[in-house]
């Protein structure tokens, strides 16, 4: 479904620092979670996969086609908010319009909206919604219309506990491949059947199983028996299974995880 080979991308042309420093990823019909701190390139990776960010090297394929050459591919969807700005209409207009553009009845997304307690936003315009409501609307649009591949950028950010819980359930039962990114480690514990990658400084590390999260340890330097080596600006770190310096699931804040092992 997704095939990335040494993908480099960023917002600067030429040889400047890239947001993606050579990403390799092959994803079949499976569910994958990418965990990384803020600024690690997760959203850029998603934008790059669907052709919204300039590729500066490497190769990307979705369903075997270069994202920049794709036309009318209805099987892919995302919760990135910028893709739902075609017109400035009410929530119901946006839902109806994207249902028609995706060639699928809109009733599913209306039902989902009701299940998530958001029926009262139908007549509002998107810019009048709270951040959490906007996020939830985009999350629901992404999983509606029978997608085969869903890209979810920080779908749990700004969601209340109840909606988080329901959305976990929805994703776990969704009959589609899902690529999800987050900066919250706790989320992996709720998605243990998913495959797991880590992302730092524009590089992707994996592949692990979500169920391994309690057995993964972070170590400073390249220690013997490691299963993954991470080269970062802060030094070299390695991942071991079963024992090591710091259990990854115990790390309090991904943004400072390397400090915890130093």
């Amino acid at each position: 479904m997704i095939e990335l080979r040494n993908l480099r991308a960023g917002y600067n042309r030429g040889e400047g620092k890239q947001a993606l420093m050579g990403i390799d990823l092959v994803m079949e019909r499976e569910k994958v979670i990418i965990v990384g701190p803020n600024g690690s390139g997760k959203t850029t990776l998603f934008r790059s996969i669907i052709g919204l960010v300039r590729q500066n090297g490497g190769e990307a394929r979705i369903f075997g086609v270069d994202p920049n050459e794709i036309k009318g591919e209805l099987r892919i969807s995302t919760n990135l908010p910028e893709v739902y700005r075609l017109i400035s209409g009410s929530v119901s207009d946006i839902m109806d319009m994207y249902a028609e553009l995706k060639d699928f009845p809109s009733k599913d997304v209306y039902i989902l909206l009701q299940e998530f307690g958001l029926s009262d936003i139908l007549s509002k315009r998107i810019f009048n919604l709270s951040t959490g409501q906007q996020k939830m609307l985009c999350n629901l649009l992404a999983v509606s219309f029978n997608p085969a591949l869903v890209l979810l950028d920080e779908p749990f950010e700004n969601l209340d506990q109840s909606r988080r819980s329901r959305y976990f359930d929805l994703l776990n039962t969704l009959d589609a491949a899902v690529l999800l990114n987050t900066h919250e480690l706790d989320i992996v514990k709720r998605l243990k059947d998913w495959y797991l990658y880590f992302m730092f400084q524009g590089r992707l590390y994996g592949k692990f199983k979500g169920s391994q999260i309690d057995d993964l340890y972070l170590n400073k330097g390249e220690v013997a028996g490691n299963i993954s080596v991470w080269n970062t600006d802060l030094g070299t770190f390695s991942i071991t299974l079963g024992k090591g310096s710091v259990r990854i699931s115990n790390i309090r804040n991904l943004n400072s995880m390397f400090d915890e092992v130093a």
Binding site: G51, V53, E82, I87, S88, M97, E100, L101
Partner: protein, 267 residues
């Protein structure tokens, strides 16, 4: 057709469009009728005076529509790039739908301006200043909506793709600025005849005047000085511009590049 419905709804509920496209222009119609020197004595003179104000304000209102379109396309750039790849939407469908929606809205605004012009200037002059060719006049508003849409989209997508969105707030106003320049230049020192024929802005204005007045428009609208101009040439010129811009618009929109709208921030 599906996009047309939602776009029409969005346009018709756009407060800036109603405020500037109707409120502001009706204010100037009021100024023309009651504040500036309306000293026409005959019905024919009054009809001519009314048609000049109607044509100037009609052109400016069309320019306001173009500005609204520009911001709409600016905010939608990433959505368009995504939708052409991952939905059924095709560039031609998008252009056709929005072009039709803009033309309909321009016609509605034109009908309002026509009615307001008739009521205000008839009241002021005590003559019944009914437009000579109201249907044809609304058809010119329809064409002006198409022209302004195409011009606005071409300008915004060109800037979006090739120059960066920093200048969006200037580019969005270019059609409006040109509308003002051509509208008021007709009242002062007349432009060369060829330029008046060639300019789509002059075409729209002279055609609006002709359809209200019922006679061919002169080169200088202030006092009707200069030769009377050929209405057919205006129509051909305007249609030529629309055909040309349509072809360019389809090509540009199909190549739209996603850009961050934050790039358009001025400070």
């Amino acid at each position: 057709m599906m996009l047309l419905k939602y776009y029409l709804k969005a346009l018709l509920s756009s407060r800036p469009l109603w405020a500037w496209g109707v409120g502001f222009t009706v204010f100037w119609l009021f100024m023309g009728a009651f504040v500036f020197g309306f000293n026409m004595t005959t019905k024919q003179e009054s009809l001519g005076y009314t048609s000049v104000w109607y044509s100037i304000i009609g052109l400016i209102a069309s320019g306001v529509i173009a500005t609204t379109i520009s911001y709409s396309v600016y905010y939608a750039n990433a959505s368009l790039a995504y939708s052409f790849r991952f939905t059924k939407l095709r560039p031609s469908t998008y252009v056709f739908s929005l072009m039709a929606g803009t033309a309909v809205v321009a016609t509605i605004i034109g009908a309002i301006l026509m009615a307001v012009s008739f009521l205000m200037y008839s009241y002021r002059s005590h003559y019944s200043l009914i437009p000579a060719m109201p249907i044809e006049s609304l058809a010119i508003f329809f064409l002006s909506g198409i022209f302004m849409f195409l011009l606005a989209v071409i300008l915004v997508v060109s800037v979006n793709n090739y120059a960066g969105l920093k200048s969006i707030s200037f580019v969005a106003f270019i059609p409006q600025i040109l509308s003002y320049i051509f509208a008021f230049s007709a009242l002062g020192q007349p432009l060369p005849v060829d330029l008046v024929y060639l300019s789509p802005f002059s075409d729209i204005q002279r055609l609006l005047m002709t359809t209200y007045y019922g006679h061919r428009a002169p080169l200088n609208l202030n006092g009707g000085i200069g030769p009377l101009l050929n209405t057919n040439v205006f129509i051909i010129s305007l249609l030529f511009w629309i055909a040309l811009l349509f072809a360019v618009c389809i090509i540009l929109v199909s190549r739209i590049r996603p850009a961050s709208i934050e790039e358009g921030r001025q400070v």
